[in-house]
């Protein structure tokens, strides 16, 4: 049987501002993940970094260590590669006053 791989859309056309995060995603079966964050509209204000977060339970989150600048322009894409994450994954970012971005966040998992 071919190894499982899947694309999950965890945030689509969501306006991120302030403290923002994608919905928790369980992926304990996967050995690797690549997460793409695309700006669907022209970002506004100073764009922060986005970071991968992991969790023991889907409720308490800690930074995994992988981060990237939020996409700087409409249709720009950034990638976050993760190889050791246990079960729970999400992407989080903290936007300053007046900053926002409308995002598409997709998680690409492979067993």
């Amino acid at each position: 049987m071919l190894p499982e791989n899947i694309t999950a859309v965890v945030a689509r056309n969501e306006a991120w501002s302030g403290h923002a995060a994608s919905e928790p995603y369980e992926a304990g079966w996967a050995r690797e993940a690549v997460i793409f964050v695309r700006a669907l509209k022209e970002p506004e204000g100073v764009q922060p970094s986005c970071r991968v977060e992991i969790s023991p339970d889907g409720m308490h989150w800690v930074p995994e260590g992988t981060s990237a600048p939020m996409p700087a322009a409409k249709d720009a894409v950034v990638a976050l590669r993760v190889g050791h994450f246990g079960n729970w994954l999400r992407v989080a970012a903290d936007f300053g006053s007046g900053a926002r971005s409308v995002v598409l966040v997709t998680i690409h998992l492979k067993s």
């Binding site: 049987m1 999950a8 859309v9 056309n13 928790p24 995603y25 304990g28 023991p56 339970d57 409720m59």
Partner: protein
Amino acid sequence: MKPDDTTGAMAEAVRRAILRADPALSRFDPLPRIISHDDFSRGYCGWTQLVGNYEDDLDTMLPGYAQHTSAMLSTLGHWDAGSHGGMDSSYALKIATRPRAGAQNVAIKRHTFRKRGPIRFETYFTFKPEASALKLGETDVRAVGFLFDLQGGDRDGDSDRVMPHLRFLNAENGAHVQKWQFKTETTPFRVLGNTNKTFTHYHLAPQGWRDLPGGGQRLCYNEIPTKVNWTYLRFDFDLASMRATGFQCNDRVFDMSGFDSIRIPAMKNLWCMLNFCMFAETDVDKRAFLYVDSVCISGDF
């Protein structure tokens, strides 16, 4: 008994014997042909996110659909007891809402059919709220349910689009209601964009649910938010008459004579459609989780 009847009876006896000796299928009662058997230890098995329609701009997607996210493969991992696991593997499909009262999420499997005849949908499922509080939360999940999205063939004269819906209304505004409901109405159709090709309606709108006669049922809910028990469900539908013919949940078999579906005019691009959806709704600002251990969809064709 005629020779053909004898052969048929023997064939059916052999089929049943094979099914009952198969640990993966023995707990189901499929019709003669299995269309799909989804054991989520083998992946997502074609269950994907129900995405709303749009044209030109994602902002045209109705909010009811915009909130949906992808289902996941879960071991029902809990902070206090670890992974709960499924019935005979570690995995189940998990459909999770956002943590906002009234939020919904829907997973869908899209097929077409080759004969308008009986189909059967069987599943083992359970549901719980996110275990973010140290109490049972038995009224946190508003509902879990399923629906079909069906349309006859392009040469059929009676080709309505037919959408049977059933949900277990677990709780509403804090009351532990526990009853099965169906609906026969959707929202008015809206045209998206300007090509006259794409339309949308919100069939899971909260309005219009009606009680299934005799549809009260108390399910096994257990005693803390991280203990779950798997529940059996069977729904029978006849694609020829486009009528429900049976419904069972655990030990209860329900009279479906009072049941009906959403019926709307046929659409020009949905011929022979055979879609299956499962959904969850939360009643409070807490995620609701529908877990599906396995699904068996079968037909007589």
